[in-house]
């Protein structure tokens, strides 16, 4: 995966496949702690211990066991390549939380990429799922909850072009709000 926004898309697709009705995505940048945190929480069918063990086994040793998929090992690898961490907590029948952290200034840390595009594609493809997108950058906080918007829209589908366009604009604004500060902290 080229960037973090593509990892988000990939991991959230797992939640969709697991039958989640609500998916919460937290992306938090903390300059003082030099940390980037990604957390994806769903209320899908969950995983048993064995599955968790298999998907979190180091990439290269999966040859010896049945390899399930690539999505989670890829994210784990991306995090560990820049002194970050990765964890899954899950309960069968209740849901799953996948967390990955990255040392924000690490040379190998992937860029965020087009997070707005990821959210738009997720909402367009799954109009009946509630998405909470939460972005934090130090003291700045942005939240978009499609549940609240759906309630206001009474009956207009989330995947109609008018709604998607408005959501996209909102998310892009929400992510870019502190652009100037972003430049400063990068230097």
């Amino acid at each position: 995966m080229e960037d973090i926004s593509l990892h988000i898309l990939d991991v959230v697709e797992n939640s969709v496949d697991a039958g989640a009705r609500r998916i919460e995505i937290l992306l938090a940048e903390d300059a003082s702690a030099d940390l980037l945190l990604l957390e994806i929480k769903d209320d899908g069918k969950g995983m048993d211990e064995e599955t968790i063990r298999l998907v979190t086994d180091p990439f290269f040793t999966t040859k010896t066991v049945r390899r399930i998929g690539l999505g989670l090992p890829f994210l784990k690898q991306a995090a560990e390549e820049c002194s970050g961490g990765f964890s899954i907590s899950s309960e069968k029948g209740r849901g799953t939380t996948v967390s990955a952290s990255f040392k924000r200034s690490h040379i190998d840390r992937k860029p965020l990429g087009d997070v707005g595009a990821t959210m738009m594609v997720l909402i367009a493809g799954n109009p009946d799922i509630d998405f909470l997108f939460h972005y934090r950058r130090d003291d700045y906080d942005y939240k978009l909850d499609t549940r609240e918007i759906r309630d206001e829209l009474d009956g207009v589908p989330m995947n109609s072009p008018e709604v998607l366009k408005a959501l996209r604009k909102d998310i892009d604004k929400g992510l870019g709000a502190e652009e100037n500060q972003m430049e400063e902290t990068h230097g």
């Binding site: 995966m1 080229e2 593509l6 898309l9 990939d10 697709e13 969709v16 496949d17 998929g69 690539l70 999505g71 890829f74 595009a117 990821t118 738009m120 594609v121 367009a124 493809g125 799954n126 942005y142 939240k143 978009l144 909850d145 609240e148 918007i149 206001e152 829209l153 009474d154 207009v156 995947n159 109609s160 072009p161 008018e162 709604v163 998607l164 366009k165 408005a166 959501l167 909102d170 604004k173 929400g174």
Partner: protein, 127 residues
């Protein structure tokens, strides 16, 4: 909190209602973009974005776009399946933005399968 204001949402509601009559009668076509890990790594998100853009531009109201998991043909990703009502589904392989736009114009809007990009017909059941 989101910056979308109540006014924005009201405006969207009005816009939607004004075109509602066009949307009656259910969907005529469904396009599924495969969004497994291999698909995403190969560019499926861009394919989906281009497709959404075509729908917006053409103002068609009876085409559904959705996503699905891995189709098991990782080397042929990105892939999409086009289903026109009462017709057999067609799988398209190794897509990019340009190809999906062409497929949308020719197959989804005009009913003509784009043979050059399609997986050989019938082989869908082979895996």
């Amino acid at each position: 909190m989101a910056r979308l204001t109540i006014e924005d949402l009201k405006r969207i509601k009005e816009e939607y209602k004004s075109t509602l009559t066009l949307r009656e009668g259910g969907s005529r076509a469904k396009v599924t973009v495969h969004m497994g890990t291999c698909g995403i790594a190969a560019g499926a998100r861009k394919v989906m974005e281009a497709l959404l853009d075509e729908i917006k531009k053409s103002e068609v109201k009876d085409v559904i776009v959705t996503t699905s998991g891995c189709a098991g043909l990782c080397s042929k990703e990105p892939m999409a399946t086009v289903e026109i009502i009462n017709e057999a589904p067609v799988k398209y392989v190794q897509l990019n933005e340009e190809k999906i736009r062409k497929i949308f114009q020719e197959h989804v809007l005009n009913g003509k399968i784009v043979e050059g990009f399609a997986l050989v017909m019938g082989s869908e059941t082979a895996y």
